[in-house]
């Protein structure tokens, strides 16, 4: 038997609805973007929005869409609140399983002298800047205290391949220790690939270790940023990427770029450099305000507005590539798209609330110091130890995770209570970044109206929503990125 609903049963009479928690943002022209607690969203003309709020809206299509997106409900309904609660719990489900990413700074030594380097790289000969096996052992004991069932161990530097024996030891020891824990382990070496050789390749293949590298774009741009003896960083990196792709498979290596002033007019060139190598993801990242990057000639001499122009030029080029059948993903947009179109939260440490420091990642420095994030370690290189949580030789897991050094910035920076964030329509997609705001404003929360973090992310959210609204191909593309 087919049940048919009468028109009367689906019609909502004026004033017969309750608003569910919602936030709004003024968009282009008279358009309003409405979002609910979990990021479901609707665009409305301002007039309709005001009519919805004051109870006079008579447009049944609008009311039906608002009900479907859990922005309004009828009196007596319970399901919308229950569904919103389930979706909210789904988004926050990572919280009890904290700290999935553990970064080991196995050495500060590096044979590159990148202009934007954020750590105090040391010359290749200074082995006193290597992590000891004892420090690595104690770090691993802390790693396995993390509740997360998935543990990713990332080896950083300096150049981690300059202390490759320790990398091999940590991988073997982690696997041995994991026999008692049964967690899913993943390993990544973040390397410039200049030292990639048969031994490293064979090890990565055998032990299922992934490689992540830096690729700033075409040769002149990359080599201008990333200097080394012989001025052949790009050639070494590209050769390394191809060797890994050929011997281990195309998905075993990924690359990250950093935007310097020299990059700003070259978004297309950068993306083409990735496409030419068969890399299907590019992360259009701004420079971080730490370390050498903010010094003279560090490459960070541009403002947020200029970076947003670069970002949008790159994003539009990537959309066009996809339109022409060339698959390419912009990683930051994909992270946000997942929050826009699903109830999942990818857990990207810069875009979570509570902040990702400590809860999303921990950093074990070569000297045993433990930091709440990589940026926290970079600040320490600038003599600011605010985010140093302890030392593996002297601190317990409880000291590190329950100390005021971590809890204070976490508690203070929650976006659901921070000024401007709590009423921002983009809050479901955004995050707290107490390290950035401490570094730039000497405050864990920061004055959002003047925050470069806020300006940059608002710019990105607006850019993505504008394309969602105006370009059906881009909307479908972002939706597909969200499902990956």
């Amino acid at each position: 038997m087919t049940a048919r609903l009468s028109r009367e049963s689906t019609t909502v009479a004026p004033g017969r609805w309750q608003l569910l928690p919602m936030r709004f943002h003024r968009f282009d022209g008279d358009c309003i973007l409405l979002t609910n607690l979990v990021g479901e969203h609707v665009f409305l003309p301002e007039k309709e929005f005001l009519a919805v709020v004051d109870g006079s809206c008579a447009d049944q299509h609008v009311l039906a869409e608002l009900r479907a997106k859990h922005l309004i409900q009828l009196p007596g309904e319970r399901l919308p609140a229950e569904l919103l609660a389930i979706k909210l719990r789904t988004r926050l489900r990572r919280l009890p399983d904290s700290t999935g990413l553990h970064m080991f700074v196995v050495t500060l030594r590096c044979e590159h002298t990148c202009r934007y380097c954020q750590v105090s790289r040391q010359s290749s000969a200074k082995s006193e800047y290597d992590m000891s096996q004892d420090a690595a052992q104690r770090s691993l004991e802390l790693v396995f205290r993390s509740p997360s069932p998935h543990l990713k161990l990332e080896f950083q530097g300096g150049e981690p391949l300059l202390n490759f024996p320790l990398v091999k030891w940590i991988v073997a020891e982690a696997k041995r220790m994991n026999q008692a824990y049964g967690k899913r382990l993943a390993f990544v070496i973040a390397t410039n690939l200049a030292l990639l050789d048969d031994e490293v390749l064979e090890f990565c293949g055998r032990e299922d270790v992934y490689l992540s590298t830096s690729l700033d774009g075409p040769a002149d741009l990359h080599n201008g940023n990333r200097r080394r003896p012989g001025q052949d960083s790009w050639e070494q990196t590209v050769a390394g990427i191809r060797r890994i792709q050929d011997s281990l498979g195309p998905d075993r290596v990924s690359a990250l770029m950093t935007t310097t002033e020299a990059s700003l007019d070259r978004a297309h060139d950068i993306i083409d450099a990735y496409a030419d190598l068969g890399l299907r993801r590019v992360f259009l990242r701004p420079i971080s305000p730490y370390g050498f990057a903010i010094r003279r000639r560090g490459g960070g001499g541009y403002d947020v507005e200029r970076w947003l122009e670069f970002y949008q030029a790159g994003l539009d080029y990537i959309i066009d590539l996809n339109r022409r059948g060339v698959p390419m993903v912009e990683t930051y947009a994909a992270i946000i798209a997942k929050k826009m179109f699903t109830n999942d939260d990818p857990g990207y440490v810069d875009l979570t609330s509570p902040a990702g420091i400590g809860l999303g990642a921990l950093v074990y420095n070569y000297d045993g110091d433990v930091y709440a994030s990589d940026e926290g370690r970079m600040l320490a290189e600038m003599k600011d130890h605010t985010f140093r949580l302890g030392n593996v030789h002297t601190s317990s897991y409880e000291d590190i995770m329950l100390g005021e050094q971590l809890l204070q910035p976490l508690e203070q920076s929650l976006t659901l209570s921070a000024p401007m964030c709590s009423t921002c329509a983009f809050e479901p997609y955004c995050g707290a970044d107490p390290v950035f705001h401490h570094a730039t404003m000497n405050d864990f929360v920061g004055q959002k109206a003047m925050s470069a973090f806020c300006q940059r992310n608002m710019g990105v959210f607006t850019a993505l929503f504008r394309r969602v609204r105006n370009d059906s191909f881009a909307k479908e593309l972002f939706w597909n990125w969200a499902q990956q």
Binding site: Q18, L19, L20, P21, M22, R23, F24, R26, L37, V53, A81, E82, L84, A85, I86, L88, R89, L92, L95, P96, P419, M420, T423, Q447, K448, A449, M450
Partner: protein, 108 residues
């Protein structure tokens, strides 16, 4: 609401019967990238003085910006007040089965 340009800042007034101080302060916070706002009470008015961060800024534009921001903040406050019980209910439901909100049972 009225606006008047002085030597040091631009004066804008709001009626205390129609504008809430909290909305006014939130608006002042939100526009802090382009101006700072001094808020005083005078009779049945809030007397605001706008000080641009850029001395070349268009004073009329600043007045429009703070007025429209106050209207938006007032609307946000109204929506928040209407939806607060449901918001609390949704958060209570969301955390009710996680174990995070459970209290430890004292040992007997």
């Amino acid at each position: 609401m009225t606006a008047e340009q002085g030597v040091d800042g631009t004066a804008v007034t709001f009626d205390r019967m129609t504008v809430d101080l909290d909305a006014l302060q939130r608006a002042a916070y939100a526009v802090a990238d382009v101006m700072t706002v001094d808020i005083a009470v005078g009779g049945d008015k809030y007397l605001c003085t706008l000080f641009p961060r850029d001395s070349a800024a268009d004073r009329d534009e600043l007045a429009h910006r703070i007025r429209s921001e106050v209207i938006d903040q007032t609307l946000r406050a109204r929506i928040a007040a209407q939806t607060e019980p449901l918001r609390n209910l949704i958060f209570a439901l969301a955390f009710s089965q996680t174990g995070l909100a459970d209290t430890e049972t004292p040992s007997q």
